[in-house]
Symmetry: C2
Subunit: 255 residues, 2 copies
Amino acid sequence: VIHMITPTYSCWTQKADLTRLSQTLMHIKNLHWIVVEDSDNKTGLVARFLKKCNLKYTHLNVRTKKELQRNSKEPVWRKSRGVEQRNLGLNWLRRNHMTMPGKGKGDVVYFGDDDNTYDIELFDEIRATRKLSVWPVGICGGLRWEGPVCDDKGTVVDWHRSWAKLRPFPIDFAGFAIKLDVVLQFSTAEINPDSRIGWLESDFLSQMVQPSDAEGRASNCKKVLVWHTRTEKPKTKDEERLIAQGQPSDPLIET
Amino acid sequence: VIHMITPTYSCWTQKADLTRLSQTLMHIKNLHWIVVEDSDNKTGLVARFLKKCNLKYTHLNVRTKKELQRNSKEPVWRKSRGVEQRNLGLNWLRRNHMTMPGKGKGDVVYFGDDDNTYDIELFDEIRATRKLSVWPVGICGGLRWEGPVCDDKGTVVDWHRSWAKLRPFPIDFAGFAIKLDVVLQFSTAEINPDSRIGWLESDFLSQMVQPSDAEGRASNCKKVLVWHTRTEKPKTKDEERLIAQGQPSDPLIET
Ligand SMILES: O=c1ccn([C@@H]2O[C@H](COP(=O)(O)OP(=O)(O)O)[C@@H](O)[C@H]2O)c(=O)[nH]1
Ligand SMILES: O=c1ccn([C@@H]2O[C@H](COP(=O)(O)OP(=O)(O)O)[C@@H](O)[C@H]2O)c(=O)[nH]1
Ligand SMILES: [Mn+2]
Ligand SMILES: [Mn+2]
């Protein structure tokens, strides 16, 4: 089973992003989707959405702590997003893996944000994970792609990146998968919201594995099967004007 | 058969957008995907992509005329995008529908941009089209949703929109589907790149149909099944720096 942990939060594009992601996941066998809302309570929108989408899922929620929330004036790279949600997903797995149907030696954990783009072939690479798999991520780290450079045996011989070159694992969350067994063995490993900018992944992985544990996949890291796309934030000015005029878009129509 | 016409152009997010869209379309039966590149020649990237994705498709190309191209300094709403590509798709259908396998009375034309988000349920609504179907589009026209307002028989009684209120069809290309027969009957109808801002759809549809022909679908227009999402343009500064240093992201790795 692949356990895919997806943080998500209320915004205009949330249902669209979850919809197209779910339609990709519908192609994948033996997937368990752990959707973690950044909210004090589970929302009806996400609950209804998950119920309808016919995937095996777990619905969780945890609100990002005040001091970690980004205010809309701060640049987007100043605060990490999705940290406490990913940690809740990890800890849920640690507490519940024993009672999960179909739990086997092959279980793998993958972090998949709601607005990234996943080629369905990626999931074959995830499934093949022995300890830690890595691969390049498209449109990431300021580059056309960022990630491992491998020899023709899949041994990582270098990392292609443009900044924070000292990172032991210079990759995005979308660029690796880790065996569930490893996450269970290191039962206190977690993502640290106080990690330096860009070091979240490295600080997290360093608690469990070493760079030499990384196996390069996706045709020895020659194929990009996941892209760190971002969905543009829509302008809400016109809607606000209509709201002020008492004529909002019918709120009974869910978007 | 649903003929879905999708303009597309070379950019960092193109393959990602086409990938996730194709994974949605893989769920749809009897779909014919007409992909029209905005380019002087068909690119290898799109040709390889289409060959691999196991959909029934037609690959076309036409480069947008110089005077219609937007320079990167102009605001995005100043020039329409995808106009000549959609027209080529229409004219291809007019020239080739007779020889298409499976061509039947039920054929419908839909315009689906590569970065929108489509719920697979939308295609049932498209397929049900008799002459002209309409429905609300999420995150569109500056609003949470823009589109028709219907009574409980699906008759359009109003349009919800925030600007250009005089438009006879105040909807986005993603918000309607039209019977192929109608497109064949009005064999010179086309999208006019000189239409006023926001009037492309209205000027196009007015050549063939009247507002009273529009049937509201998607639960009498109470459901949003398509969103006018946009994929954020990535910053390319770091890549440019590496290129200047003679160390670009390996160009043999396709993204
Ligand atoms: O306040 C927020 C903002 C984002 N996210 C989620 O955290 C992940 C990463 O956020 P985002 O995609 O905005 O960050 P990026 O890496 O694209 O800058 C995504 O799955 C979001 O849905 C969240 O839980 N709370
Ligand atoms: O120079 C361009 C820019 C865009 N497009 C395509 O035209 C459609 C509409 O463009 P875009 O999504 O950028 O416009 P929007 O309506 O989102 O502003 C999309 O399918 C694009 O791939 C194109 O063919 N040439
Ligand atoms: Mn993201
Ligand atoms: Mn678009």
